[in-house]
Structure formats: structure tokens, C-alpha cells
């Protein structure tokens, strides 16, 4: 997890894929606040890219620039091959944006909201009607189609907002906290929908705090911290083969013995979430996280540890890799 490969692996397709999102050295400040301080990132088309970072790290500002709402102070942006600043309409026609906080026109029905946006994107009325019906079905709001948007719950409004972002069949999707307020069922639906959209060759950029969710749906992850892209890495996205190297959680009766042995054999390890990294290892149960090459590596580790007399308790594939990476980032921040 600690290795942060800046450039994501090229997609497997032989033909060069249509461009997704390319951001280079983007800067934007609001007065004295440097919301974006030299962000660079690439989001592949045909993949879901997660945008992870603490509050106030510049995620929303970045998405606003990508959506074509804000002029960056400097830097280069390409969305679906267009610069949202110079070629605004062309970029916006291919971009679906769902803000983190948005409202709906309360007296309009869900269907009318979608049809209005379709009209705003210059989709002819007949197609707009069909499109609205399809999208309402996609986000499971068909039974609310002709009720005013004011009766929708927060999660339903969120789903309507997602349908709105999809109304013009955008090539690039920018979703700011799309899962907030969604019930577990809707989250699963969202995940499947985003995977599906990515498989159709679209670029999906999702920011979220629900890291376990992101972990399951994202192919790539970009960490943003204090206005910078702090690191990018590739994840084993849902449905994709996990990479050979994976993180394991190893627990022993004696934390000191475990860490002592690991250090003596030259393995690089991190204390797990329960350990305070600032206190020296003590003679009590505890666990570490380490990166192991495949299942054979894990088997070898068990054999060697037992042989070395380490009171091993458990060895399991670690979950929440993204969360740990995120927390590690937070650690740096302090």
C-alpha cells in the first residue's frame, strides 16, 4: 500500500482509449487559502477513479474546476479531451457533475426535473421523455416520478441528482460524495451502476468518505491532501483480479516478539490500527500489517514465524486498505 505509483497502468485495450481526465499542476486559491496547490492526476476512461482526502483538502474545488465552474489560477485541465475553461460548452456537454450539496426545485416532479435538464442540454423533447423514464428506472424512482421532488427523502434526492448528472449521457462523470445519505441497498446499486458506466468506457471520478465503498468500486485512487495529489495507486477494483501483492493482518500474543522477529528478518511492517505507533512494542497481544507476495508468501511467513517461536494467533488478508492509506496520509498531515 505504501508504494504510490504516480502513473496508473495503461488500460488493457490495444487501441488508444478516448481521453478521460488529465490534470496537471492545477492551482487555485481563494484569498489566502490555497484550495488547490499543484494537483496533478489522471483518470482513465473505462475506470472508476476514487478521489480521497480529508475535509478541506480541495476535492470539491477540484471537481468544480473539472465541471467548468471555476477558473483555475494556473495549470492544465483536460476533460474528455476539452479544456473546461477555454472550451467550456464542449467540455460541459460531455461532463456529468453531481455536487456534494445540491437542491431540487421542490414544486417540480422528478420527471419534470429530468426533462428540464434534458432540455437544458438540448435534447429533443421526445427523446428527453424516454430518457427521463429510463433514468428514473435506473435509480429506482419510477414510483416517485410524478410526485413533487419535495416529498423525496435525502437518499432519493441523491439518486435523482445522479440521474440528473446522467441525463445527457456524459462521457465523464464527476461525483462528489454520491453515496452520502444512501441506504445500503442504494449503495450497492450505485456501485454496480458506476462499474457498469466505467465498463462502457466512461471516465468516472468519485469522491467519497466511505472508503470501504470506494475500495470495492474503484480501479484507481488519488489521494488529495492540502490541495495536492498526495499519491495515486491502483486498487483491485470490484470484479478485477486482485494484485499479487496484498496486505495481511498478523496478530501474535506478544507484540514485542512479533515485531522483533519481523525486524530481524528484514520485513517492512506497520502497526495496525490498535497500536499506538509512538510507544515502544510491549509484551502484550498485538498485530501488524505487512505486504506479502501471494498465498505462498503467507504460508512461508507462518512456517518461519512458528519456527522462530513467535506466538502467532492469526493471519488474515487485511481489509480497509484504502482506509489505512488514508489514515497514513492523515498521519503525515499532523
Amino acid at each position: 500500500m505504501t508504494d504510490t505509483t504516480a502513473a496508473p497502468a495503461p488500460p488493457p485495450a490495444s487501441a488508444p482509449p478516448p481521453p478521460g481526465i488529465v490534470v496537471r499542476n492545477l492551482k487555485r486559491s481563494f484569498g489566502a487559502v490555497h484550495a488547490l496547490d499543484g494537483v496533478s492526476l489522471t483518470a482513465r476512461s473505462g475506470a472508476v477513479t476514487a478521489l480521497v482526502g480529508p475535509n478541506g483538502s480541495g476535492k470539491t474545488t477540484l471537481l468544480l474546476v473539472l465541471a467548468g465552474l471555476l477558473v483555475p489560477d494556473s495549470g492544465e485541465v483536460q476533460v474528455a479531451g476539452f479544456d473546461p475553461v477555454v472550451e467550456g460548452p464542449s467540455a460541459r456537454a460531455r461532463t456529468g457533475w453531481m455536487p456534494d450539496a445540491f437542491g431540487t426545485w421542490d414544486s417540480l416532479t422528478a420527471r419534470e426535473v429530468l426533462q428540464t435538464f434534458a432540455a437544458a442540454y438540448r435534447i429533443d423533447p421526445a427523446r428527453a421523455r424516454a430518457r427521463a423514464t429510463e433514468l428514473l428506472e435506473t435509480v429506482h424512482l419510477t414510483e416517485y416520478a410524478d410526485r413533487p421532488a419535495s416529498v423525496l427523502s435525502r437518499g432519493q434526492k441523491q439518486r435523482l441528482g445522479l440521474a440528473r448528472a446522467l441525463v445527457h449521457d456524459p462521457q465523464v462523470l464527476l461525483l462528489d460524495e454520491p453515496a452520502s445519505g444512501l441506504d445500503p441497498r442504494s449503495r450497492v446499486d450505485l456501485r454496480i451502476l458506476l462499474r457498469r458506466l466505467a465498463e462502457e468506457g466512461r471516465t468516472v471520478l468519485v469522491s467519497s468518505h466511505i472508503l470501504s465503498e470506494l475500495e470495492e468500486m474503484a480501479d484507481d485512487v488519488v489521494f488529495v491532501s492540502r490541495g495536492r495529489a498526495a499519491g495515486a495507486s491502483e486498487l483491485g477494483g470490484a470484479g478485477l483480479a486482485a494484485t499479487d501483492r496484498s496486505t495481511w493482518h498478523v496478530r501474535a500474543l506478544s507484540y514485542a516478539a512479533l515485531t522483533g522477529w519481523l525486524t530481524s528478518v528484514g520485513a517492512s511492517w506497520q502497526p495496525d490500527d490498535e497500536q499506538d505507533p509512538h510507544t515502544p512494542p510491549r509484551e502484550q497481544p498485538g498485530g501488524v500489517l505487512l505486504t506479502i507476495e501471494g498465498d505462498e508468501g503467507a504460508a512461508r511467513l507462518v512456517r518461519d514465524a512458528v519456527a522462530a517461536g513467535v506466538p502467532l494467533v492469526s493471519l488474515s488478508p487485511a481489509s480497509g486498505a484504502l482506509e489505512r492509506a488514508y489514515l497514513a496520509l492523515e498521519e503525515e498531515r499532523r
Partner: protein
């Protein structure tokens, strides 16, 4: 599971059609209509709107009927000798000013929260990122607010018609009055739109819009009054008056003399009166009652045109005859200037709104987030 998550793909190619690049000022009827329909739909469906229309009709109707009764009582106490030329113009003027005054009170609220209100509700940015240009969003909002204002005007039509029918007021005066009020209201709507784009808080923009309306309605005439003394001075003028030899009884011919009089040079300050909506409507109404009639609109028109002419160097003080010299009734209309000024204010408001709605934005209004 996946079969229920059917992402609708558009028929044909996935590539979106080539977007014609349009600047922020580009307008299309389609775009304007989309925004206006959206705004109107929301407004019409609120119960507040229906209540406002009902209250308006009741208030205007009740006051019209009271005025009708009052003017009849004052002038036409005897039905046999009823002289509509006395009460009719007064009634028409009263109802016109009532509709205009209430319209100026109601209209600022119709548009003065249309941009910042949407921004606070989080619906503006999602609209801005569509292919609508900022000119289309602004014009759509303006048209919707104006249509709402005109709804109030239309509800007043029966009462204006009643007042027109009561007297010698020509029907084309009714038409002119309604048209001028409608233009004044669109100017007020546009001022409100500009304010709502300029100020982030909706209460602030409403207050500012009212202040602009008050400035042209009250403050400008007040300034005219306050500067009246400073533009006045003693000047040598030609006076057409009674000869000094007149004994107070005989029929005499008035004579011209050179005398010093206190003269107001209002030709430099007349525009302070001209921007007033009531003056504009009075001057533009074109009512044509007799000189000795009680037509307030005509009276205001004469005053404001005289003020515009300012010191002519001639003063009429003859009350023996009016054959020789008559205060020249100016045919130079004042209302196009006043209306033009109000429309100019509205145009500025519209331009401000379009500029503020343009994306991508370089600067943000203080204390606001984009989305």
C-alpha cells in the same frame, strides 16, 4: 443483479453531438423558454402565489370601487347634471397610480431573489453547467418575473377599464398606461435580477432593489425640490401683465414690461422629476381633458413639461385676457427620457446578471460556495 441496472445508452453513437460553441451572450428561444418555463412552473405551483393574486385583486378592486363612490359623491352628486368630465379623469388617474404604486411594491420581490435564492438552494450551479448560456438563464428568469408582474397588471385591467369607461378618458390612454407600466415593471424586474446576482443574501438584494425603486420614485423628486432654490435666482424677464394704469375695473389690454422676477432654471434639474415612474405614466398617458378639468395626469404632464422648459424669459401675469399670450404648452414629451432611464437601469441589471452567471467563474461572491 446487473440486468436491473440497465444504463440507458442513447440510440446511436455514444459520442455527443458536436456542440456549437456559443458565448455567454448567445441567446436561443429554446434556452430562454426552458429557464422561463422552469421558473414559472415553480412559481405558479406555490400557494403563496395564488394568495398574492387574490389579495391583489381584492385590494385593487376594493380601492377602485371606493374611489368610484368617492369621486361620484364629490362631483356628480346630482345624477341629472352628472358631469363625467370632472370625475372620470380623476378616477382614471387614481386607479392608474394605485396599480402602478402597488406594482412597484410587488415587482421587486418577484425577481430580487432569483439568482442568489437559487444559489442558496443549490439549484443554480447544476443549471449553469448545462449548455444554457448565462444570457439565456438571465433572460429566462427575467421573462418569468416579468410575466408574473404582468399577471398582476392583467388582474388590474378590469378596474382600469372601469375607470376609463367612467369618463372622457380615451381608450388609447388605457392602452398607453398599461404598456408604460409593463415596461416600467420589466425594468424593475431586471434591476432586481441584477441585484440578486450581485448580492449573495436574498434579503440584501430585495432591500437594494427597493432602494433603487425608492430612489427614482421618492428620492429623485425630493432632490428636485431641494435643489429648486439653488437653481432659482432673480432675473430680468419679460412680464405680460396688467398695465400699471389699470384701475381694477375696466377692461384693459395686457402689456409687456421688463421686470425682475424670481425664476427657477429647472431645465438643468428636470430629469430628477422625469425619472419618477408616476411622472412617466402621467406624461405618457396622453389624457386630453379640458384645461379647466380635474385631470391630475394632465396637470402633472403640464407641470413636468414646464419644468423641463425651465425659464423661458417670459412670465404671464395677465388675468384680464388670454388672447395675446398663453403660457406655451410644451409638446416636448418627458416620458421617453424617464422611461429610457429606467430601462437603462434595467439593462445594467441584466448585464450584471449575465456577467455574474457566466462560468467558469474567476471570482466568487463573498461568502458563497459555487455549488
Amino acid at each position: 443483479m446487473t440486468q436491473m441496472i440497465e444504463v440507458p445508452a442513447p440510440d446511436g453513437a455514444t459520442a455527443p453531438p458536436t456542440v456549437k460553441v456559443r458565448g455567454r451572450w448567445a441567446l436561443s428561444w429554446h434556452g430562454v423558454r426552458t429557464v422561463a418555463a422552469l421558473e414559472l412552473r415553480q412559481r405558479v405551483r406555490s400557494t403563496r402565489w395564488v394568495v398574492a393574486l387574490v389579495v391583489w385583486t381584492v385590494v385593487v378592486g376594493a380601492i377602485t370601487l371606493l374611489l368610484f363612490g368617492a369621486t361620484r359623491r364629490i362631483f356628480d352628486f346630482d345624477d341629472v347634471t352628472a358631469d363625467r368630465s370632472q370625475s372620470g379623469p380623476l378616477l382614471f388617474a387614481a386607479v392608474t397610480f394605485l396599480v402602478l404604486g402597488l406594482g412597484l411594491l410587488v415587482t421587486p420581490t418577484l425577481s430580487s431573489t432569483s439568482v442568489n435564492g437559487d444559489r442558496n438552494a443549490g439549484t443554480l450551479a447544476t443549471l449553469q453547467v448545462t449548455l444554457l448560456t448565462s444570457a439565456e438563464i438571465a433572460l429566462g428568469k427575467l421573462l418569468a418575473a416579468w410575466a408574473a408582474a404582468c399577471a398582476f397588471l392583467v388582474l388590474s385591467l378590469p378596474f382600469l377599464a372601469l375607470a376609463t369607461g367612467a369618463g372622457p378618458t380615451p381608450w388609447w390612454s388605457l392602452l398607453r398606461v398599461v404598456a408604460i407600466i409593463a415596461v416600467l415593471l420589466v425594468a424593475v424586474c431586471a434591476i432586481g435580477l441584477g441585484m440578486s446576482a450581485l448580492v449573495s443574501r436574498s434579503a440584501g438584494s430585495t432591500v437594494l432593489t427597493f432602494i433603487v425603486v425608492a430612489a427614482v420614485t421618492f428620492i429623485a423628486p425630493l432632490l428636485f425640490g431641494l435643489t429648486y432654490q439653488s437653481v432659482s435666482s432673480y432675473q430680468e424677464v419679460r412680464v405680460y401683465g396688467m398695465p400699471s394704469s389699470w384701475n381694477g375695473e375696466d377692461e384693459v389690454q395686457c402689456v409687456w414690461t421688463q421686470e425682475e422676477r424670481w425664476v427657477a432654471n429647472t431645465q438643468s434639474t428636470w430629469w430628477l422629476l422625469a425619472v419618477n415612474p408616476f411622472v412617466i405614466v402621467a406624461d405618457g398617458a396622453g389624457t386630453n381633458a379640458d384645461d379647466d378639468g380635474t385631470d391630475p395626469l394632465r396637470g402633472m404632464r403640464d407641470v413636468v413639461r414646464e419644468v423641463r422648459a425651465g425659464a423661458s424669459g417670459q412670465v404671464d401675469e395677465c388675468w384680464a385676457d388670454s388672447s395675446e399670450f398663453e403660457a406655451v404648452r410644451s409638446e416636448h414629451a418627458v416620458w421617453p427620457w424617464g422611461l429610457g432611464f429606467n430601462v437603462l437601469l434595467g439593462a445594467i441589471g441584466y448585464v450584471v446578471a449575465v456577467r455574474r452567471l457566466s462560468i467558469p467563474q474567476r471570482t466568487l461572491p463573498r461568502g458563497t460556495r459555487v455549488a
